[in-house]
Symmetry: C2
Subunit: 200 residues, 2 copies
Amino acid sequence: MSLREKKKIETKNKIFEVSGRLFKEKGFENTTIDEITKEAEIGKGTFFNYFPTKEALLLYFAEKKDELTYSLIESETAKSIHTKDKIKNLLVFLAESYERDKELTKLMIFEYIKYKRGTGLKFGEDQSRRNRLSRILHDFLGNGVKKGEVREGIDVKTAAETLTAVYFQSVMVWLWSESDYSISEDISGKIDLVFEGIGS
Amino acid sequence: MSLREKKKIETKNKIFEVSGRLFKEKGFENTTIDEITKEAEIGKGTFFNYFPTKEALLLYFAEKKDELTYSLIESETAKSIHTKDKIKNLLVFLAESYERDKELTKLMIFEYIKYKRGTGLKFGEDQSRRNRLSRILHDFLGNGVKKGEVREGIDVKTAAETLTAVYFQSVMVWLWSESDYSISEDISGKIDLVFEGIGS
DNA sequence: GTTTAAATATGACTGCGGTCATGTAAGGTT
DNA sequence: AACCTTACATGACCGCAGTCATATTTAAAC
């Protein structure tokens, strides 16, 4: 690795570390780029060589967090339990991983939506969050059909999207609510419902 | 009505009208407050007597739109058809009302999420969108149970929230996707799924 | 009609995100 | 080692959202 590459990584990590600290100390909005660059001992312009906007930092945070979370998931999902429980465990685990840093999570999710607006993503190109989750659920459901735990003849893609929808909705409502109810129970209940159906 | 009140309404409408025109002409981001106030022939500071931020305009737009939409809905929902179809009609109607002005709709939804972040809404206080929709669905499902079209013993609140989740997810994915598929079919399919259930 | 009080209007000003022309240093070339 | 090229660093600068002290208009009080 060349000296240049080393310095680049160092600078990016420095920005990451400093901004993380400042965000925790005084919040995202109250932290200015000037502060970050002063603390990180770089010029203001340099910041924008690494992150195109202030908000891009949030996406970077989200990526780092996702890396960790999804690597944990993949080692957890080998277990041979009932498909419904597998899905419950997965979604509850994900939801609970947001419990720390509720404020920053909101901003991150928020930014993620905004981000999708700006970029013209081709289908299948977006590997993060929603789609990544849909893929895992898709696998689970496919196996569920084979095991006879999921109704045959179902459209697996639609089912995966529906479960994803339920999950995101629950997380959003939970994040934005004042009260402190159990996200696990909420999600579990809704998954039960989707498995059993509403119709008579 | 006093002269003051008249002028206030006039000014607010003028801002609304001018900004609407400019947003359509050149987009939200490319329109500055300076432009709006110049076109509306008011001082810059005056704008902020009517809207606390530029984004607040989007919420005002959304409100106006919702007023119209929900007034149409209430006259439509009297029909005595099967509960599932009633729900399908409702959600498809709502989704299709976003077909015009896809760009502005995105910004509005986006802003709505942001807005919820800032305000400490008490439960039941938020009469708009998500909760309003949940309430209507709640009613539909309640009647559905009575008519024997919805499975008895179901938690109506959870079911309403699940359907809302499916609806919002569909709209979001649709709004942010490049392709031009049928939102009606997508939502219909998912409602069928939720009614029939995933489990075997 | 005059005075007083309250509401509203206003634009110079501030603060911050983001740009860009210019400077500096790394690494390749001879 | 002297020179060149390319990548990266930098801070003065710009544009725009939002503020605030001051001015103006309306309404109330007498």
